[in-house]
């Protein structure tokens, strides 16, 4: 009887272990990987556009600053505006890096746990591209 209890206990333990593995996978990749990745990617696209727009704005201002024809007063104003953009730059960069870490982690989980075969990954790429196109975030 004692052995029977032990066997029962071990079966329960086995099921718990299995559930733990599954829960971990679910927590990592979410219930719908395409939707989850599309959500995250759209946010990343938005941040990328913000970074490039800000970078363009800053380099065009720097460019004007370098022009000999720019007056001293205009230079002072531009420099002040450039300085004001620095905290904004730090903010958008940090948000981008934080989001990138989340996406990388999710992507690694998906590849390790769900899309282990090359064909599965290709299908994932195609499905994600379709979803992103549907949402208009590219």
């Amino acid at each position: 009887m004692a052995r029977g209890k032990l066997g029962f206990f071990l079966v329960i333990l086995a099921l718990a272990a299995l559930a733990a593995c599954e829960n971990e996978a679910m927590k990592e990749v979410g219930t719908d990987p395409i939707q989850l990745m599309a959500d995250l990617h759209c946010e990343a696209v938005s941040l990328r556009k913000a970074r490039f727009e800000l970078a363009d704005k800053m380099r065009f201002m720097e460019d004007t600053l370098m022009q000999p024809s720019t007056s001293d007063s205009a230079k002072a104003l531009l420099q002040s505006q450039l300085n004001d953009l620095e905290p904004h730059k730090d903010s958008v960069v940090n948000r981008s890096l934080d989001l990138a870490a989340v996406i990388k982690s999710k992507l690694d989980s998906l590849i390790e746990q769900e899309f282990t075969e090359v064909e599965q990954r290709k299908a994932f790429d195609a499905d994600l591209a379709t979803e992103l196109e549907k949402r208009g975030c590219q």
Binding site: L6, V11, V93, L132
Partner: protein, 451 residues
């Protein structure tokens, strides 16, 4: 009773199987060949190195490539004795004499994964050293400890400790070697001042608020293979001329017209390969990320992973030395400057022009070596591979698809033309240089066959 006993055994086996299924890494108990281990844990170091490169001051493309290279070398040398027929790089690389690296003790068991783990972590700490933030130091420590915890339990303690000590000794020896290459702690002085660029119509002048060009003396650093610099320098560029009928004017006009007629996809390509306007792990980092992706797709063993990183490491390091030598030998003016002076004073590029001379293109040199190394590692030699570059996905870029590694490198090189920051000759010559270096690294060093 017998049925209960059998049931208990089966249940125990199920528990053990399920728990072992949750484990991420192999466990090997002695000096098993390196091909018996998964290379997954080693890839994590390159992910982390990319992140640290972005966050650490002073890591411009040459410095970043150098840091990746010594981590790659350390990982390889830590496992080389576990790869059948493999030769140490000591005695094969410029300035690294034969038998100059620590040897494993005879008749003693080693866990090569533990050795590679210790060597990679130690070298990464050393490469970023003075500028490494406390937070990033902790990330390296944590990754090392996590990997160690995955491997050590199945080994007798002396084996685990001996293996870790061997890995660290390898890292220390290679670090000593690195200190004499001309790039030691160069992140503390990336502009290598004082430097006075030559003056002339053809000469580079600042194109942004960064008035000093990056690392003007980098071409004097010691390459891993001497011929990677001495035999890969590009022919002189098209002679500079302001004459509207000259070839040089035509080359600049070509850039001007391309920028003004870029398709949306070409703009996307320019930005994709530039990675980011603020923080990147540099073009070499992008290519190391690609290698990591390819190794993951290949389900590569530790042997293949270590060899692959070492090949790319040596080639990338030398690509930046060779390319930087040509940049500062020719000191060629950027299209941005020339076009504003001679074609259109209001010209602007698609992406920012990096602060160093044009000829040849760093991106093109470094992706040229990537093309060669990837072709050798992942194809039968024809370079055909269905590649989906998803390395930019996390930063809001789409996935770019290529059917061969030459298609990948050609697009990377062209991206600098679409961006308006390079003449086509910079990109074409850069690719040639990179391919020569890749060829040298693959053929002039004795590498083991790994699967």
């Amino acid at each position: 009773m017998k049925r209960i006993t059998q049931f208990t055994i089966v249940a125990c086996a199920a528990v053990l199987t399920l728990f072992s299924g949750c484990e991420r890494y192999d466990r090997v108990t002695d000096s098993t060949e390196t091909s018996a281990y998964s290379g997954d844990f080693l890839r994590k170091y390159y992910d982390l190195q990319c992140q640290i490169t972005k966050e650490t001051p002073g890591f411009f493309p040459p410095q970043a490539a150098r840091a990746f290279s010594y981590v790659g070398l350390s990982g390889y040398e830590a496992v080389v004795h576990g790869i059948p027929n493999a030769k140490s790089l000591a005695g094969q690389l410029n300035g690294l004499s034969a038998n100059s690296l620590p040897q494993p003790e005879e008749d003693k068991a080693y866990n090569w994964a533990i050795a590679a783990n210790a060597a990679s972590a130690e070298m990464m700490r050393k490469m970023f050293d003075l500028n490494l933030s406390e937070e990033n130091l902790q990330k390296i420590d944590q990754l090392e400890e996590y990997n160690y915890s995955q491997f050590y339990a199945a080994n007798p303690l002396p084996v685990a400790e001996r293996s870790a000590a061997f890995g660290k000794a390898i890292a220390e020896a290679i670090y000593q070697y690195s200190m004499t290459d001309g790039g030691h702690q160069s992140y503390m002085d990336a502009f290598q001042l004082p430097y006075s660029p030559p003056v002339g119509d053809h000469c580079w002048i600042p194109t942004s608020a960064t008035v000093h060009p990056i690392s003007p003396y980098w071409g004097q650093c010691r390459p891993f293979l001497i011929q990677n610099v001495s035999e890969t320098q590009p022919a002189p560029h098209i002679p500079h001329s302001a004459d509207v009928n000259s070839d040089f004017y035509a080359a600049a006009m070509e850039v001007y017209e391309q920028v003004n007629n870029n398709t949306p996809e070409q703009v996307e390509i320019a930005k994709f390969w530039a990675d980011d306007p603020f923080k990147t792990c540099t073009p070499a980092g992008h290519t190391f990320n690609l290698l990591s992706q390819l190794l993951e797709e290949d389900d590569a063993t530790l042997a293949k992973t270590a060899v692959s990183y070492a090949k790319l490491a040596i080639a990338e390091n030398d690509a930046f030395i060779s390319c930087w030598k040509s940049k500062y030998d020719f000191v060629l003016v950027r299209p941005f400057t020339y076009i504003r002076q001679h074609i259109d004073p209001d010209f602007n590029t698609v992406i920012g022009t990096p602060p160093f001379p044009a000829y040849s293109s760093g991106h093109s040199c470094e992706i040229g070596v990537g093309e060669m190394v990837f072709t050798e590692l992942f194809t039968n030699g024809d370079g055909n591979y269905e590649l989906s570059d998803r390395t930019g996905l996390q930063f809001g870029f789409g996935i770019r698809h290529f059917s061969s590694f030459s298609e990948m490198s050609a697009e990377c090189a062209s991206s600098r033309f679409y961006g308006g920051i390079h003449y086509q000759m910079d990109n074409l010559e850069g690719l040639v240089t990179g391919r020569k270096i890749g060829h040298n690294v693959l053929n002039q060093i004795s590498w083991p066959e790994v699967n």
